[in-house]
């Protein structure tokens, strides 16, 4: 018998939503054909794909022809950003690596990093300055930060951007929060709302000056390549369910995260809880414990059956600390990001919180403090 495991890493990937499971299996049998062909299986596949698009559009409150499916959230981010403008790019200092990578890969210049405050909120004046300098024709600001949960002031950003098109990475927030009104292109990732991996959603507003930036028909606003039809349908079913449940789930998660913030701060000495107490995503929190090795902390939690992520340098492939924590001036070592799934219970969270002070104390003692 396997020991029970408390998975607190939903911000990396939420477990498949039960509403998606049956749809995925049924659609895998029905949706195999190429919807561009003229035979009956193709028509069936086309019907499923168009159904998925309809459901996603309705859940997000946009038009059907504004929804593109991509092969991942990362691809949606790359295409969403690089399809806007052709010269300089301005992006907040706390954007996901996918945004930073896209800007670098495009060789567009200049790439301006927009400063954030100590809660990771982008400085609207930095957006104004970048626009005023006149060499930026695309701006990227996320809806909510994927590491610390901070909600960005998108309406103010959009009005500061003026005529410069805005790309919004909503991968951390899509489904959990209403789609932002601001943004010419908005990207989402299905596995972060309980859909399957390998399905991204790119919303391109009808009025946006956007084109497909990779090989293919640049003026086409249809999915490029062979769509993952079962995946898109399952992602749509999960999104619909998450939107329907979000009022109840968000309230419950917000309260549990407030409990974590409070108990971590009062029960563990020398800990830095990053990001705002309010104006944040409901389901995640990041904190750093002074003098503690992030990898050791994640490993110790895994040993007691708790799975979390970390932004510390020692846990990353590049051995670089989290750009998000660095940009906001937060401690980068001893870092843990904890994110709740839709069915994380208070008991799960309390079990982790009860163990945490002892784990941190032991690790500090090992370090000679």
């Amino acid at each position: 018998m396997t020991e029970p495991f408390t998975y607190l890493d939903a911000a990396s990937a939420e477990p498949l939503h039960p509403a998606a499971r049956e749809v995925l299996l049924a659609a895998a049998d029905q949706g195999y054909a190429d919807p561009r062909r003229l035979h009956r299986p193709a028509r069936n596949a086309g019907l499923l794909l168009s159904n998925a698009r309809e459901v996603v559009a309705e859940a997000l409150g946009v038009r059907r022809d504004e929804v593109l499916f991509t092969s991942s959230g990362t691809t949606a981010v790359h295409a969403g950003l690089l399809g806007l403008g052709s010269h300089g790019i301005g992006h907040s200092a706390v954007e996901h690596q996918a945004v930073v990578d896209a800007a670098r890969w495009s060789r567009r210049s200049p790439v301006t990093e927009l400063a954030v405050d100590d809660e990771a909120r982008v400085e609207v004046s930095a957006v104004q300055d970048a626009v005023r300098a006149g060499d930026v024709d695309a701006i990227a600001v996320q809806q909510a930060n994927h590491e610390v949960g901070t909600l960005q002031p998108l309406d103010e950003v959009a009005s500061a951007a003026g005529p410069v098109p805005l790309f919004v990475d909503a991968c951390a927030s899509m489904g959990r929060l209403p789609l932002p009104l601001a943004g010419d292109a908005v990207a989402g990732s299905a596995r972060k709302w309980g859909g399957p991996g390998g399905v991204g959603v790119l919303v391109v507003r009808r009025a946006a000056r956007w084109r497909w930036p990779f090989p293919g028909d640049e003026w086409s606003r249809t999915d490029q390549g062979f769509s993952n039809i079962p995946g898109a349908l399952a992602a749509a079913a999960a999104l619909q369910a998450v939107v329907a449940e979000r009022e109840e789930v968000n309230a419950r998660q917000h309260e549990l995260i407030s409990l974590v913030r409070e108990r971590v701060r009062t029960e563990i000495p020398d800990v830095d809880v990053a990001g705002p107490a309010d104006g944040r995503l409901p389901h995640l929190v990041t904190f750093s414990a002074l003098y503690v090795d992030g990898e050791a902390l994640v490993t110790a939690l895994d040993r007691i059956g708790v799975g979390v992520a970390s932004g510390s340098a020692c846990t990353s492939d590049t051995r670089e600390p989290s750009r998000v924590l660095a940009a906001m001036g937060a401690l980068t070592h001893g870092n843990v990001r904890l994110s709740l799934t839709r069915d994380t219970t208070r008991e799960d969270v309390e079990r982790m919180l009860d163990a945490l002070p002892g784990i941190v104390k032991d690790l500090r003692a090992e370090a000679g403090l």
Partner: protein, 78 residues
């Protein structure tokens, strides 16, 4: 900038070691004096100022050693 009373050599040590050494040796200097740490670990650039903020000490600044390694200076306030 005041000269440091104590300089810790943390070259080649990965995070969080340089900050641990700061924590262990802050008591070696008097209040008002400056402790320095030479650290080539990239995280130290962010974590030494964060440590000073969390521990209520003053981050004085960063200079470069002759070998190009950053040296961070902190004044003991408490």
């Amino acid at each position: 900038m005041s000269a440091p009373t104590v300089t810790l050599d943390c070259r080649g040590q990965a995070c969080p070691r340089p900050v641990i050494e700061l924590g262990r040796h802050l008591g070696d200097i008097e209040i008002g004096e400056v402790i320095a740490v030479a650290a080539d670990d990239v995280a130290a650039h962010h974590d030494v100022p964060a440590w000073a903020r969390m521990r209520g000490q003053e981050f004085v600044g960063e200079v470069e050693a002759e070998d190009g390694v950053p040296v961070y200076r902190i004044r003991r306030l408490s």
